[in-house]
Amino acid sequence: MSRSLEDILFVAPSPRAQTITRTVSAIAAVVLFLLVLGVLFRFHSAGQLEAPFWKFFAWPTTWTFLVKGMLGTLASAAMAAVIALTFGLVLLLGRLSRQRLVRWPSIALIEFLRGTPTLLLIYVCFLVLPSAGIKLSTYWMLTLPIGLSTAAIVAEVYRAGVFAVPRGQADAARSLGMSEAQVFFFVVFPQALRYIVPALVAQLVIVVKDTTFGYVVTYGELMQNAKVLVANYNSLVPVYLAVAVLYCLVNYAISRVSKRFAAPVH
């Protein structure tokens, strides 16, 4: 199927329909433009367009500070992703194990990590662990909970991938005399990964978004640095707008890259 559904739905409109479409398009464009104008007017009437609120964006220090925050975000997200991908594999192996003593705790752990909000886990690292004598740096207070809760989701994603691999593959590998570990790591898992690249990348976007909680533990990521900027220049709207745009750009870029990787498997 090459044509999209939209094209089929509105195929070959009559000249009259074409004119209607064009007129409505123009009206829609005007309405959207007016909407933008209205927002800008709101900014103006609230005094948010005045120079003091914006001029510090012209200073390089502002941007180095924001980029530093961005790097903090990426450092935390990258480590959380590594934890999620590796620990997720451990959880998957536990869940697929034939030993009930391994399987049931793994299932319980997955359901627990997956079913509780990441923010709650961050609060555990932030408020409870110190009173138990475990002191983590702010980096780990943020990264560890995100990594662990993502690991549980990744384990389920892996599992979906493993089940998508045709059974014959494993059977054939076994008949060649491979051990169960060899079957899994050389035949089944590499193929499973190819099915789930889009889902894994979607998870990466969520990891980047979760690092926003860094300001809870005062780890220097984008949101935390934005708060500092806001405190310095008393300019909430412009700073948060800039940060929102930065987040959207990064996450949009990540999901676009995934579309490239999501080439057909066969």
């Binding site: 044509r3 959207l32 909000p117 923010l119 709650l120 609060y123 408020l127 909430l236």
Partner: protein, 220 residues
């Protein structure tokens, strides 16, 4: 075990209220978010380039912005623009916007599962494009997205924890737990109870979702 009994004798009612508030926030943001998502998905089909562009921007924005950042913007930055929104409404609005963007995105995938032959057939019967969408495309798309929607509600339920970041009147589960943990040293029991409530709510949603899925699944 003793700790949990003690916790319940001290904070029992607070926990039930927190659970109810968590559920309330979930439902109050899912229902309008879902409906808005359907509207966005359908409007995106119209052959109007400016509208399509604006709606794509809408979906990409609210899909990619961290909900906390959005909530903080609504609560702390909008007052600077003379837009004052009640805390609870701000939380619901945040989650609703995010939910609508994801719903629109999933529905688009669901819409693409509808076979193009069906649409051509309907058009050749003389149905108008919008009739085709409402009577043929949408019902099938909605049935195809039950599973992703279930995951979305669970994610939404977990996201209500970000309400703990604003001074809400009542406390939902995460806010309650962080308050108990700051007030007293016995935090771990409170976390365990809240985690259990979250997990059980999630399992409940997943169970209902699976039942609905079983009922409406389209066999191809």
């Amino acid at each position: 075990m003793d700790e949990i009994f003690q916790l319940f004798s001290n904070h029992g009612p607070a926990f039930w209220q927190a659970l109810l508030l968590t559920w309330k926030l979930t439902i109050a943001s899912f229902v309008p978010g879902f409906l808005l998502g359907i509207v966005v998905a359908v409007l995106r089909l119209l052959p109007l380039p400016p509208l399509r562009f604006a709606l794509s921007a809408y979906v990409e924005t609210f899909r990619n912005i961290p909900s906390v950042a959005l909530l903080i913007f609504i609560v702390f930055a909008l007052p600077d623009l003379n837009v004052l929104i009640d805390y609870e409404l701000a939380v619901i609005l945040t989650l609703m916007l995010v939910c609508s963007a994801f719903t629109a995105d999933y529905l688009r995938a669901g819409i693409n599962t509808v076979d193009s032959g069906q649409i051509e057939a309907a058009l050749s019967l003389g149905m108008r494009p919008m009739q085709v969408v409402v009577a043929i495309v949408l019902p099938q798309a909605l049935r195809a997205v039950v599973q992703p929607m279930t995951s979305l509600i669970i994610a939404l339920m977990l996201s209500t924890s970000l309400a703990s970041q604003v001074p809400l009147q009542g406390r939902e589960l995460t806010a309650l737990v962080s308050k108990i943990a700051t007030d007293s040293a016995a935090g771990i029991a409170a976390f365990a109870v809240a985690a259990a409530m979250y997990v059980l709510s999630g399992l409940l949603i997943a169970w209902v979702g699976a039942a609905v899925e079983k009922k409406v699944r389209i066999l191809r």
